[in-house]
Amino acid sequence: MHVVIIGCGRSGSALASRLDAEGETVGVIDCNGDTRSRLPASFRGTFVTGDALRQSVLKEAGVETADAFVTVSSNDSLNIVAARVARDIFHVPHVVGRLHDVGWQPISSHLGIQMVTTVQMTVDRIHLMLAHRPLDPELIFGNGESLLIRSSVPDYLAGRRVIEFNVEGEIQVVEVSRGGHSIIPGAATTLHEGDMVSFAVASSSLGRLQSFLGGRWDQ
């Protein structure tokens, strides 16, 4: 897969590095040539210094043969324009953009361009983490028989093994978020203070999960 990325800031460089490490070919465009230093020395892709709206610059980065096009520059209007140019002029099959400002969302959705709105995402995530309703489901499956619950765990459970939460047919730990990273826990994974844990839980067992998290560790 060939991916063209507009913007070599924190997001663009991280995405470019990851895709490159995964064996994809990557063309990165940034108007500031200094941003090339954000890419690792091992980066095998193309870096083009220039204006992302120039046809010659886009072509040099491989837009004509691109399978995907990502615009993560710091300029929202540039991201919208570049995304639409990639999709409708160069017919890139998969185009994703990033917006900081929610105010741009109506125009991008009007144009049918897939955009990730970072400020909105951050606010939603933080709001959810601040909400003192730990057992509100993140996802509801089927007709509500199974739920995905994300919750912090009491500090005194630090050191216990994550799988001790599992109750066959009722509760299953699926993921642990720690220090901004997410891990799939193994048999030996232990809980740390501040962990956020995702549980798949049968709705009929919500009370049981609540009591685990509320302090009665009745295994």
Partner: protein, 132 residues
């Protein structure tokens, strides 16, 4: 005519004044508070807000406007304003300023642009012709 000038910088301010002088009803949309305040102090009608956000244009009376001039100092912004003015707000005539001539290839009907000009003088002349 009712004309919205999106972007009240050096060029936008001149365009607005010239249009007012030829008896048009002009509303300027400017995101920078200081610039907006000085335009207002000079007697222009100004809406302070980001012209690429539909609500700012609606506040400027976009739904009744005959012409919109996308006149900011950023070409990508002028393109986004133009497509929104034409497609979303259905303003009959959309004129855009090109800051960097290398971007001229983008300024066409694909972005809702009816006419595009790359220098302030030409822009003023064109708008005055159409408003006669």
């Amino acid at each position: 005519m009712k004309i919205i000038v999106a972007g009240g910088g050096l060029v936008g301010g001149q365009v607005a004044r010239a249009l007012i002088a030829s008896n048009n009803q002009v509303m300027v949309v400017e995101s920078d508070r200081e610039t907006a305040a000085s335009l207002a102090a000079a007697g222009l009608e100004v809406v302070t807000g980001n012209a690429s956000v539909a609500t700012s244009l609606e506040a400027a009376g976009a739904l009744r406007a005959d012409v919109l001039v996308a006149c900011t100092e950023r070409d990508e912004e002028n393109l986004v304003i133009s497509i929104m003015a034409k497609r979303h707000l259905e303003i009959p005539r959309v004129i855009a300023r090109i800051n960097d001539d290398a971007n001229r290839w983008l300024f066409d009907a694909f972005w809702g642009v009816d006419a595009a000009i790359s220098s302030a003088g030409a822009l003023v002349a064109l708008i005055e012709q159409t408003s006669d």
